[in-house]
């Protein structure tokens, strides 16, 4: 009875808004974690400044830049050649004929299932074993250079990855696109090149960017077979001076390339898909 009376006199007010409870634990964890990074960064910077030696810098900085150019050459050429190779491989992989499908599958599986370093050794040292035959074929000049062997290995390797990316992209274009084109009376060839492929490229854009980044990082492996890329020059400088700083410089360079590429690629992707976003 009393309650009813109460309800009659004072209408039930909605609960007052309260800010969500703070989680002080998270707050402290955040400060601690970010602080740890800050201290690590400051320590590293201090180490670089304290150990900075003008003569050393003047001697090795240009070498690292030379190495950077070799790295960029290695990656850009192998990505481009790999893309050209990837196209027929992806098409063969999609094909329903076992004669085409099986070798493409085997190729992709082989290159994606084994370490890039082992592949590089196989090509570089394996070629040395068949020197006489390669001389007879007139190909020895190519395999004699470690750079060329790395280039060949990276091209084959990335072509397998890119073929798989392209295959996935082509197959993920909705089937209705094929059916629609057929209903309009378009040939299969026209449909593929003008309707399916452009859409597939857009789907493939993001994994392709990742593949380029993986290739930049993976190319450090070339240093093991005496290619003087960025990593190779870094290792050489370290083995001559035992100055650890040079590894930090290399890390900074690699990180800036990868981050720059990631951001540029994101922009590119946004620009290429601008027609797919609703207009504001």
């Amino acid at each position: 009875m009393a309650m009813e009376k109460d309800r009659g006199t004072a209408p039930l007010a909605p609960p007052a808004w309260r800010p969500p409870p703070r989680q002080p634990g998270l707050r402290y964890a955040g400060i601690l974690a970010l602080g740890a990074w800050g201290i690590a960064g400051a320590g590293l910077l201090g180490y670089l400044i304290k150990g900075f030696d003008g003569a050393y810098f003047a001697r090795y900085a240009p070498k690292l830049l030379d190495g950077l150019i070799v790295t960029l050459e290695l990656v850009s050429i192998s990505i481009l050649l790999g893309a050209i190779l990837a196209f027929p491989i992806a098409l063969a992989r999609i094909s329903r004929h076992a004669v085409l499908w099986a070798p493409a599958f085997g190729y992709i599986y082989l290159f994606r299932g084994t370490p890039l370093l082992a592949q590089t050794f196989l090509v570089y040292y394996g070629a040395g074993q068949f020197r006489a035959e390669l001389v007879d074929l007139g190909l020895w000049w190519f395999f004699r250079e470690a750079f060329n062997c790395a280039l060949l290995t990276f091209t084959l390797n990335t072509s397998a990855y890119q073929a798989e990316i392209l295959r996935g992209a082509i197959q993920s274009v909705p089937r209705g696109q094929w059916e629609g084109a057929r209903a309009l009376g378009l040939h299969d060839g026209v449909t593929f090149f003008k309707i399916i492929l452009p859409q597939a490229f857009i789907i493939a854009l993001r994994p392709l960017g990742n593949e380029i980044i993986l290739m930049i990082k993976g190319s450090a492996v070339a240093s093991v077979i005496t290619v003087f890329d960025l990593m190779g020059q870094t290792r050489l400088a370290f083995s001559r001076s035992f100055e650890f700083q040079v590894y930090i410089w290399a890390a900074v360079i690699y990180l800036s390339i990868v981050e720059t590429l990631r951001r540029v690629w994101e922009r590119l992707e946004r620009w290429l898909t601008r027609h797919m976003r609703p207009r504001a």
Partner: protein
């Protein structure tokens, strides 16, 4: 053919047992890296997913660094840099010479890289879990840890497994890099065999086949695990 069999034979004349030994080290290294990489990756993912901006930023810094550095460079930095750091710490007390174990260095470096990529996989999985379920857990009065254990983790495995399977295969291949810091893994044993026999093509091809068979076996196992965690999901 006789030659090949002789070279790959077990015992003091052939290299079969050395390669098997290297394969054992490779698999051990990958297996030792996995749990620590998974836990670290999950913690980083939680940090990136947290509402606290400082914690999220710290997580993103971790990912940016270890996803962007070449694995080989990370390995060298951990191996040589760790050597210098530990030596200086030891020098504070005594002046004995310490040497970093290359297995441990490899484990640390590969785990950092694994965690950076795994945290992205976990983050995707965390975001795939329906928000309403977390809210329902809160409404039922479950604590943060209970929500994590009873609601998030069982579903997280399902969402994260395909990505993690991929990372496991990458990790297996990345272990080959430790051969450069003189850990006797499969690739380094192969290098030694090549140095002694001058048969690079044969031995590197065998090494590649061994890597291939390990990844084939693990994909079979991973498919089985995937089927197991998806058993309640109808056809999947």
């Amino acid at each position: 053919m006789e030659d090949v069999l002789g070279l790959l034979a077990w015992g003091p004349t052939g290299w079969g047992d050395e390669l098997a030994d290297g394969l054992r080290v490779t698999i051990l290294l990958a297996l030792a890296t996995l749990p620590y990489g998974l836990v670290l990756g999950f913690l980083v993912a939680l940090a990136k997913n947290s509402s606290d901006p400082a914690l999220a930023a710290a997580g993103h810094i971790f990912t940016t660094i270890f996803r962007g550095l070449p694995e080989l460079l990370t390995l060298f930095i951990v191996y040589y840099g760790g050597q210098i750091l530990v030596q200086q710490l030891v020098n504070l007390f005594t002046d004995t010479y310490v040497e970093i174990n290359s297995f441990v260095a490899g484990m640390i470096a590969l785990g950092l890289v694994f965690a950076a990529f795994a945290s992205e996989v976990f983050l995707g999985a965390l975001r795939a879990i329906d928000k309403g379920q977390i809210e329902a857990g809160k409404a039922l009065g479950l604590s943060t840890l209970q929500r994590l254990r009873l609601i998030i983790l069982p579903q997280l495995i399902r969402y994260a497994l395909p990505g993690l399977s991929n990372l496991w295969l990458v990790l297996l291949k990345d272990t080959s890099l430790v051969s450069v810091i003189a850990l006797d893994d499969l690739l380094r044993q192969t290098n030694i065999a090549v140095g002694a026999t001058k048969q690079p093509f044969l031995f590197y091809a065998v090494a590649c086949l061994l890597y291939l068979s390990v990844s084939l076996l693990s994909s079979l196992a991973l498919t089985a695990i995937e089927r197991h965690v998806n058993r309640g999901q109808g056809r999947a």
